[in-house]
Subunit: 360 residues, 2 copies
């Protein structure tokens, strides 16, 4: 068990990892009104119902609504359904939304929390590895548009994040591996020692050893918290480092349609593209690139863009990325394992070079 603090002044909060006290007291300490509205992916509805019982024991009244799983739920249509349910349930400014599930539920329910009544409290109880190590921390919430991923959203820090790592026991293998792509990102972009540790313990991680899981999750949350503390609203470039591989990844996802690859799979391939581009520029040693590829492969993650290549469409999607400015693509590139920076001088030819499978 561990608690990671995200220090953001009056928007600061705790990430509790396997706290023995249970979710009831955790929420009770953070929701003075003792009223909650739980929004769960229906894959984890049974767990959400158990948590409702625990909340009830802690004196918290709650309702539970479920949404369909999958990236398609991060839509304006699903958001409209949620708004209607919140209004009809008379959810007021003191009622907390508790998002139970993966990144999709956290992002969608989080955006509803950011905008219902101009903002109500949010607690997140992630049940996927990806949500535990990444999307639940830092306040980014939002939905997708047909034109691109996360094009609509807000910054809305949660009042707390509740992580029960035993949720991962029943997580489908593909979802688990997808979360590992984000774990690799933290090592490559921010912490070389952590990357080395991952390399040395990749089999423990594959086997979901409880000690390895707790260490991985606490380390990733801490790394993300430190970045978010320096650049809450992604204005200074510090936070952009967390997007290593993501500009490529969003393009793969947007063009293929959500659901072809998982987000993590796209991020794995995107990291390799970013790494390869960096290596060709002489920024990243080729040996480091190979280490990254090796670790991703050990976890059965893709290390090349999807087939068949659709370079023009990917480039077009990359130009619509939120980091872009005036049509110019800005990319996060690794400079060694453990460090990355934001570059705005990357040419289209360089990007084409790593997107076009034949050139590799």
């Amino acid at each position: 068990m561990a608690t990671v603090r995200v220090s953001l002044g009056n928007r600061g909060y705790d990430i509790a990892i396997d706290e023995p006290g249970g979710i009831g007291p955790f929420v009770a300490a953070r929701v003075p009104s003792r009223r909650a509205y739980m929004i769960a992916d229906y894959n984890v509805a049974a767990r959400a119902e158990r948590w409702q019982d625990e909340l009830n024991e802690a004196g918290i009244t709650s309702r539970l609504t479920t949404i369909p799983p999958g990236e398609a739920s991060k839509s304006l249509a699903q958001l409209g359904i949620l708004y209607e349910r919140l209004a009809q349930a008379h959810v007021d400014r003191q009622t907390a939304i508790i998002a139970v599930g993966g990144g999709v539920v956290g992002d969608l329910a989080g955006f509803a929390a950011a905008t219902h009544n101009r903002g109500i409290p949010l607690l997140i109880a992630p049940t996927t590895l990806l949500a535990m190590v990444d999307s639940s921390v830092g306040g980014k919430v939002g939905i997708n548009l047909p034109e691109g991923k996360n094009l609509v959203g807000a910054f809305h820090q949660p009042a707390g994040v509740w992580i029960a790592t035993d949720s991962l026991a029943t997580l489908p293998d593909r979802e688990y591996r997808s979360g590992l792509a984000e774990v690799v990102k933290y090592g490559v972009g921010l912490d070389g020692e952590f990357f080395d540790w991952l390399q040395a313990h990749s089999e423990d991680v594959t086997a979901k050893s409880p000690a390895a899981l707790a260490r991985v999750i606490a380390r990733c949350c801490t790394l993300k918290a430190r970045v978010v503390e320096q650049d809450e609203y992604e204005t200074t470039g510090v936070r952009a480092v967390l997007n290593l591989g993501h500009t490529f990844a969003h393009a793969f996802e947007t063009v293929a349609g959500y659901g072809t690859w998982t987000h993590g799979e796209a991020v794995a391939a995107g990291q390799v593209c970013a790494g390869r581009l960096a290596a060709r520029r002489g920024l990243l040693p080729e040996a480091d690139l190979q280490k990254v590829i090796h670790l991703l492969k050990a976890w059965n993650l893709p290390v090349a863009p999807p087939e068949p290549a659709n370079v023009d469409a990917w480039l077009d999607a990359m130009k619509r990325d939120k980091k872009s400015s005036g049509g110019r693509i800005r990319l996060v590139l690794p400079t060694r394992i453990g460090s990355a920076g934001l570059f705005d001088d990357v040419s289209e030819a360089e990007i084409r070079g790593v997107l076009d499978g034949r050139a590799q």
Copy 2:
């Protein structure tokens, strides 16, 4: 001409009233990218096009899109259309949205600006009195749901507000009078001297005397700025004072359907309800209530709830108000002309007493 500063640290901004320099330099000084996306009510499309020319002269490239006028445009459906246009126009984080029109456009385009790419710069160029004195200042943006007004929204301070009072020359009389209901609110809730001035100059105001207009708009913007500076996110109760009459008003609007009464008409009747309730409690001298009624009548504004009475539905809508908590209605009540407070001990019977026309 005057400039009112809203001091909110790095979210502070200027409200320029009849600045001789023109909109081009005003926007150029606030949008380093020199790119703008103008969203206008199509009633004022011709003015927006003229402003586009002025922006162009100042080196700012812009696109213009129009939306249908009227409260019905503050919908999730219209928002979705706007999101699609922004995405297809590749509007990025450095491009400013310029909202041209009344409160509807400001609220809708403002919410799009708050959430597109997790927030992009917003400038507001209000063309109605209501938008000039109220909705353009303070950062509240949002849309309506069938269940209630402004139930979805955000706080997103603009980068600047550009007021050209000559827009009011062509504003329909009913729209102009509706804005005056909010003007009265500032006098009653915050500034007794201003109320007295309005009483003494009500005919100049009716006649849209340029000197009277400039004074009214600058005073209201200043009063609102001072309140917003103290309570940007409406958490301390200070800002709630600006909602004098609005809990009643939103209920009248929600139940009647938007478009039956203007927002200002509903606010006028709502203020009288709040004043009458306060008078019955002994909070507000009856003579003050009569002064308020007299001034509203001088401007042809309603001073009683709409007919036929629909008390149960109004009460239900009031319970869904964003200020409500746990089903308890919280109301802003005037304590004398120039002062008001937030009360959470108002009984349903008291509210019914002022809603039920027969009892008056």
